[in-house]
Every structure is written in structure tokens, then in C-alpha cells.
Amino acid sequence: MTVTAELQNEVPAKLSVQSVSKSFRTKDGAVQALDRVSLDVAEGEFVCLLGPSGCGKSTLLNIIAGLESADQGQVIGDGGPITAPGRDRMMMFQESALFPWLNVRKNVLFGLKLKPGLRRKERINVADFYLKLVGLEKFQRSFVHELSGGMKQRVALARALAPNPRVLLMDEPFAALDALTREQLYGDLQRIWQERKKTIVFVTHNVREAVCLGDRVVLFSAHPGRIREEFRIDLPRPRDINSVELARHATAIMASLKGHAPETAAVSE
């Protein structure tokens, strides 16, 4: 396989969540994290799952990733039902989850080394391509602790993109960052998503973030975790989180949130 072939995009994937239920046993009894949730994600779509903490949106993401299994129902990916993690679906977490014993480039190479069919030189070229894409080509040899929070998430993004997955699963990846860094990353993520034609499922509890990034915002309610409502966001891209138009959409979603149960108060605008 050549680098050109490796860097070429395949047709984006499609995900189908079919009536997925999942409950956890806690000290206070069973908690219904997800209750018969169904959701279709189109090829190349950017879907934001929005809801208060504990509404099961992260659990759903883990099930799509194959890190957890559903009690009932199933998730269909490209190759049939999802039962285990796969290279076609890469995940990004709130903490960067980068490996401190590896430098930046070797972190990006970690997933590539597990992908068959690439030679050493090709892997390095691919890693360099993605580090450049996230603007960190000058930090290849840095160690993780030497990077700022925003840079860490950029490396994590490069690491998730490197094996060329068709689906990117993002679990509040920007929640721990300061506002300025976050805004830069909104721009970068939109650009990269358009360039690389990924299908993205993005979990957040921030309404504006969801409106800024998503083609579609899927609103969850908690106890039990269910899909409450869906909003299609047709604003042109790239979107600016501070634009008035965007704020109008966010306000509408916020109003809808507040119209529901009181637990949705945990959602921030």
C-alpha cells in the first residue's frame, strides 16, 4: 500500500443504532442509562448528542465504539452489528488519553502500527501528514507533559485520524479546555471534517458547541436515557460560535430543554 492510497478517503460510513437499551447496577439500584434508543447517522454526517450529565449519551458512544455492549438492541456499522472496537471507528476522550511514555509522533504511530499493510516509512509519512493537519508538525519529538491542554487534544485528534477511520467518536473532547482554545479547535475540527469527509458522532453538554459543530443536534433526556428531540442545523460553514444566527438556534434548543424535565438544568449554554 502506498502513502497516496493510505491517505485517500473511502466513502464515509453509516451507523444505525437500533433500539438500544443499557442499564447499570449501582449502590442505589439499577440505573437505566439508555432506554430503547434508535438513531441513524448518515454518511459524512456530523451528529451532536446533547444532554445533561448522566443521560447516557457517553454510554451510547461507548457502545458504538464497541467498548461496551448493549443489553438489548444493536448498532449496525458498515460490516454488520458492532460487537468490538474496530479501526473503522476511532474514539477521542475528554482527557487526551495520550501515552506519556511515548513522544507525540510515537503516540500517533501507535494505532498505525496496529494497522496491517503499512511499512515503517509509510507509517511515519502518514503520522507526519496528520500532525501537520492539526498544526503540530513542529512538536513531533515533544513529550505529552510538555504540551498545553489544547495541543494534547490536537495530538489526540491526529492519533484518532491516523488509521483513517470512517467514523470519529468524540466524547466531550473540548470540555476541559479554555474558551479561546476551544474556539480554535471548533474551526479546526470543522475544517478537518470537511477535508477528510468523516462521519462524526460528538457528545457534549454545551448547547452552543453542539449547534456550532453539528449538522444535527440530538437532544437526550435522563433517567431513563432517551432521545427527546432532534434539531437540524442548516447554518453555512465554517460556523462561528459567537455569531448571532448560531445563538438564535442555541436559544431555541435551550428553550426546548427547559420546557422538559428539571434535570436538564445541568446543561450549560
Binding site: 465504539a65 474496530g86 476522550f93 482527557e95 488519553a97 511514555w101 513529550f143 510538555e146
Partner: protein, 254 residues
Amino acid sequence: MKRVIRASIFFVGLVLAWQALYLTHFWSPVLVPSPLSVIQYLVGAATDGTLGAAIVVTLRRLLYGYAFGIAIGLPVGFLTAHFRVLKDTIGLLALGLQTLPSVCWVPLALLWFGQTESAMFFVVVMGTIWSVIIATEDGVRNLPPIYARAAHTMGSHGLHTWTRVILPAALPYIVGGMKQGWAFAWRSLMAAEIYVTILSGFGLGFLLNNGRELNAMDEVIGIMLVLLLIGVLADKIIFAPWERMLRRRWGTAK
């Protein structure tokens, strides 16, 4: 460079103070020999080969037992971290045996193995293994689960996750355990060598005890200096580079 000079001045001063004490003849020269006589002993023992041979014997015992202790302790630590049933059994046993001063293995080793190399090997292994098991188990248990999760999403599982993710992630703990194991093994080996003579090899502990039996204080102090030097060198050569590497990568200032 400034630090080297400072250290040199300190140690030269220490030797001068020793010489001054010797010159007062307040204590018998049998109890406080001059620095020169200690150096003369060391030079003599080095030229006739006894010192070199003793160092080789002692370090060989130490390294064999230490390497074996780590080779067993690491995987056992991983297993006790992974299986609760092993933590509740072997892990608990290791915790108990680690609190036992490793010198206490010497009488048992002598009764089991007699005055043989096996007894020495056993004592060193017992000094090493429990610390390594406990540190490895601690290290693995304290890892943020996110590392393994991230690795799984990238297609790592089974042995690959253990060797490429969990082992390096737990390394700060493991190196700490190896250092403690080294200290325990070194102390118990010295105790064993002083305690009992083994005809297949005369180690540094034997020379130390020999000095006592001959009332040769120059030999006693000379060997103690050699032991001290080996301890410092082991720390600088074996452990310091690891710790530097860990500090650089993890960014922990100790």
C-alpha cells in the same frame, strides 16, 4: 563542575578529619586505623586478587538472584493485579512476606540448602521478589483505565495491551519496586555472607567477617568502603538513568 568540586572538598575534608583523629591517638590504632593503612590494605587486596574475586562472587550472587526475582516478580505482579482471586491470595502473601526483613530468610535458607550457593541465591530472590510483585501490582491497579480503553479502540488487545500499554504505563511504580528489591536483596546478601562461609566462593561479606576475626580494622573499614561504593555505583549506573528517563517523559519533578 561546581557540584563535583563541592563534593570533592567535602570528602577530602572527611578523610583529613579522620587522619587528625588518628593522630591524636585518643583511641587505639587497632580500633581507629589511619586512612593510609586502609588504603594499603585495599591496594594489597586488589593486587593479590582477593578483592576482585570477592567483588565478582558477591555481584554474581546478587545479579543472578535479582534477575530471577524480577523475571518471576513482574509477571506474578501483573497476574495479581488482573485476577482478584490471586490478589486475595498470592498478593496478600507477598504483602506479608515483604514486611518480613529479608535477613530473616537466612536461617531458613541455610537449613534448607546448607552452606551452598543455592542458599545465597534463595536469600537474594526472597529479598527481590516481594517488592517487585507488590510494586507491579500497585502500578497496574493505579493506572487510569483510559489508557487501556484508548488502546483498545486503536485495535490493541491481549498481550499487546499488556506489553505496550500497561507495562510502560506502570513503569514508574515498577522501577520504584525494583529499586526497593535491590536494596533488600543487597542487605540480605551481605547478612548471609557475613553469617556463613561458603567454600565455593568468598564474597565481600566473608572478607568483612574475616577482618573482624583477625582484628584487622583496616580490612573491615576497607571492605565497608568498597560496599558503599558498590551501592552508590549501582544507584548511579542502574537506576539513575531509568529515573531520568521517567522524569523526562512523565514530567514529574522529584
